[in-house]
Symmetry: D2
Subunit: 145 residues, 4 copies
């Protein structure tokens, strides 16, 4: 579906919000792509991202899958989003050198934005879908000085 952004500066806005999240910076996540209704976030897998079995911890996968950025591409200026809820299905163990989280808006609404997200593990030249998620985001007006 082709979406029309309402904020001409949506890319700069999302990059700024992203870099202002200490937890995403501590994980080492990076924004790879920002399009209307779509974002891609990457993560170079490190030892401190793992669980006891040597695969990436679910909390890390969820942090990438959570679709605030994709939803935020479609907001008017002066609004941000908060995650209301999501559901994630873990389909395969996350092993490899890189995780990619591709977020997509399913349906933008004024009071609720439905999103989905696929998380892919890249190992050598293989991509494996390790998780898929459905979420909903609530837009709100943030305080301007």
């Amino acid at each position: 579906m082709a979406f029309q952004p309402q904020n001409p500066d949506y890319r700069a806005f999302i990059e700024q919000i992203f870099r202002a999240q200490p937890f995403m910076m501590a994980l080492g996540a990076a924004l790879e792509r920002i399009e209307p209704g779509e974002t891609e976030i990457s993560l170079q897998i490190r030892p401190d991202h793992l669980q006891h079995g040597g695969t990436v911890h679910g909390g890390v996968i969820v942090a990438l899958a959570d679709n605030g950025a994709a939803a935020a591409t479609l907001l008017p200026p002066g609004q941000a989003v908060v995650t209301a809820e999501y559901r994630i299905s873990f389909l395969a163990p996350a092993v490899g050198h890189t995780l990619l989280a591709r977020g997509t808006v399913l349906r933008p609404g004024r009071s609720l934005i439905h999103t989905k997200s696929d998380v892919i593990a890249v190992a050598d030249n293989r991509e494996i879908l390790v998780a898929t998620a459905l979420g909903s985001m609530v837009p709100f007006a943030f305080n301007k000085p």
Copy 2:
């Protein structure tokens, strides 16, 4: 509901698994309580747990809410669990000095264990329910020598 543990050493087993998870150790999470079908995990909130708005990032909340530990209290010896999926509802902004995640088994089964989890933010002497989750865990036999 009162559950009967099948592994007499379930407490030691869960403590061992928990400490073997680099991501939980990097976050600073601690096991506070282990009972049959119930666990409590605590986290002292640090600046690197936050998102841009100053509240705890959803990925951190989910990492605590994910109910492997509660499900694992009811496993027979030689089994572990993997999270199949979960759904989390974010009810209030997570602010305060400490998060507590209380995991509970709703229904233990041989092929699937249904769990729920409440995440509470403690600020001063007030406890606020910030998230509630439903999940399912799949038991599996791990490598025995």
Copy 3:
């Protein structure tokens, strides 16, 4: 949690909406209780509610669990709700003579209302929790003359 209704006629409003739903009437569902932030719906189990194994079909359970009524108790006059999404966990086979669905508001918001619901099967004098659900509802203003 004690909630304060904003619409003095919330009971009449919910009864009217409930009776106006042909699918709920076709199933034979009945409203048993309406309190601020809480409702109970009952269903006398009939042969056409079942699936092949003789237990109540998941679609019937979900129809009862869907929490519009509980959320609607807290709306101001002139608003209704639409279900944005929900997640249901099936905990036990639904057998017996009656199903009871107890809906509760977890957190009412202006743009989103978080709800939960438990569905109980009554057989003889035993109550069994057969499903538990988390959902979210979006309030909207309906057409006024």
Copy 4:
């Protein structure tokens, strides 16, 4: 993804199970397509499927979305599935003359099968995605004489 059925008679098995569900028959649902890991179910919309606003009731949509049939195409002989849980997002009001539910297996496992489902409303010559769902199914051996 291309899946290999383990039961040579999977089509006959699914048709038999489907017709043995009184609730699906009462709704008027029909199996349109059965392929390995994929099914399509159709429903001609009737007045008794509706809610008060004139759109199809969520319980009907969920009854179609619930992916037992898609999961069952990949079972070995002598096994059936039970739905453990699912999550459904309602994306648009369901209006039109027909609903189509397209179920797909995301990942088949011996103890858990991850599925997804899209529900489409057909009106005139337009198809609208009205709901999308993620679910999990647990295989079990059924009693043979």
